[in-house]
Amino acid sequence: MVPPEYYLVLSSAIFCIGLFGILTRRNALYFLMSAELMLNAAVINLVAFSFQWGNLTGQTFALFVIALAAAEVAVGIGIVLVLYRNFGEIDVLNAATMRW
């Protein structure tokens, strides 16, 4: 049996990749993908601990997170489309007018 530390290392690695992507990229699609990576890092944690303690709640929760991620992508793609329609490109730094 794989000890839980391995899963934790894997999940934090994936989370940091996702975070790096969000902080550095300007393309909105990269944003979506990075957010997806961070979500999945969290899901790995859930499943790992669920397996560790023999409790199915974590795995059930993982299913919910996957469904949520799907919904998030649906909304996110919509936003990306609107961005493209309004600015002609999908660079997130251009859409900076929604402030004071």
């Binding site: 969000i22 902080l23 550095t24 944003f31 730094l93 900076a96 402030r99």
Partner: protein, 677 residues
Amino acid sequence: MVSASAYVPAIVLLPFVSFIVALFGRENLPKRGAYGGIAATAGSLALSLWVLLSVRNGEAFQETYYTWATGVGAQDWTLTFGALIDPLSALMLVIVSLVAMLVHVFSLGYMNDEGERDLPRYYAGLGLFTASMLGFVIADNLLMAFMFFELVGLCSYLLIGFHFREPGPPSAAKKAFLVTRFGDYFFLVGVVAVFTTFGTAAFAGAESFPALAEAALNGEATVWTPGGLAESTWFTIVGLLVLGGVIGKSAQFPLHTWLPDAMEGPTPVSALIHAATMVAAGVYLVARMYGFYVLSPTTMAIIAFVGGFTALFAATMGVVKRELKQVLAYSTISQYGYMMLALGSGGYVAAVFHLTTHAFFKALLFLGAGSVIIAMHHNEDMWEMGGLKDKLPVTYWTFLAGSLALAGIFPFAGFWSKDEILYEALIHGLDEPLILGAYVMGLLAVPVTAFYTFRMVFLTFHGEPRSSLARDPHSVRWNVKGPLSVLGILAVVTGGINLVPVQKIVPSIEGIDFLHKWLNNDWGGIEGLSSHHYAELDPYSSQYLFGGEVPTVLAGAAVSLGLAIGGLALAWALYNVADPDEHTDKLGGLKALLYNNYYQDEFQVWIADNTRAVAGGADTFDQGVIDGVVNGVSSVSLLSSERIRRIQSGVVSNYALLLTLGLTTLLVVFGLIGGWF
């Protein structure tokens, strides 16, 4: 059997509903609000009479309806609205609602028939005025009384300034409001002082402030006093503070100046203000908390002296006035002076008696004056009148009854009440020089009152008409004659509720001192609020002239009646001729002094001008310090937000960075505190 006590709030709420209806119904109402007002006040009157009967059957009560604030910790005060129904308030309820209803009916003739505009606003004002006065009458604590006292002041402002398109009424309204507010300021401080001293402002019961004050003076209780002041001194100060409000509202010297100007309001409003509401409120307040005032001989003496002085002072000014309503205005100030004289000299019953009779005959005189003013096409100058006797018979005879009552001629209502006041002041004054001085001034005012009253009657109704208006007066309808007749009968017979002198002379007649028994709680009442209890507390002893009570009664009545008849006879000789001259012109400079009200108005303006520096300082303090703090707070937050908002760049990556940094910081802080490292 339903108890009348359950309907006490309705007495106040009915006129209030008529106010709301008139306010929102505007011009669509029948008679533009008049019928609603009449119905509401008639309902109040019916309920008040029922309450009066139930008090007669021993059902006086005190009840708290609503507690709107409670203190915490050691200062466990409760601020409440409640009703105190005892013989005094039950009597006053009937007076107020009766006069208010008659004034509403009269307004049909004076306002509707004369084609005035904005009538819903007028009837809304009348409704609120009546409701606030009724609320003041039933109030069971000083704070509630203060609130309704202020409402009464507000309504008088609204109604005096009813004709706001003309220049006079708005400034008269402002003057009435400001002058009475000046007195009310002391009243407010007095209310706070009562709360801090006694922790309660209730009028009745073992835990009420008069009862606590009495116990404290007997050494049975301790109360807070500022700086260890003696209790009697402090009670005098508190009493005088509350008296400030009374002097303002009841138009006593030196705050009487607003009242003659208040004649700018419509005449029915003047009747209401002078007879039953507003001006009566001050005297009623002293009677309501009389158990507190009798504990302080200094305050009592001041009340008596101010009252006696005002009675004489105002009466002299009434002698020279040209306008009908001006004469009546000064007579009101003078008559309320008598009531204050009675209260100050220990004549609690006499004061309430005069309050009752005065309410009827003064309402009658004002409504009579209103009828004359209708007839004269709104000309009020008595020198333009004359000879109206035959053209306005109902007005003449009722006005005559009211005048005889005002002048104190036997056997009209005013004779009995004024005679009792002077009698009480005399027997208590023989020991106290100050009260005796007040008595002498009250006595001197009697012939002056009779003189100016009958000067007014003769100039208005007798002799030959002195103008074309007086030769062909406008006629008046039932809605003017009806209220006049009711009040005319009352002005003749009200004295019958308290024929004390007769009983003293002929002791075998039983039951003609009804009001004495009534206020003495003979038929039940609230413990500690009886005239008997007050008489035990008051600082006076009675002395009699000529070796006994009966000769004193007879001598007192003979002197005051003789003086009244003397004044009447002088007026008769001078003015009851076909074409009278202005005899007061012979007074020369004195007339100018009287006609200009002893230059009191100018004096007050002079005071105001010379205290402008103080007002300017207060304004600077307000603008600079108070507003400065408020503005400073707002500019600090404006400036800092101008800086801080720059982190809102609108760039989503920056937000993500901030989130990440924030989370990292949180983790580090928790780690340091939690000792993970």
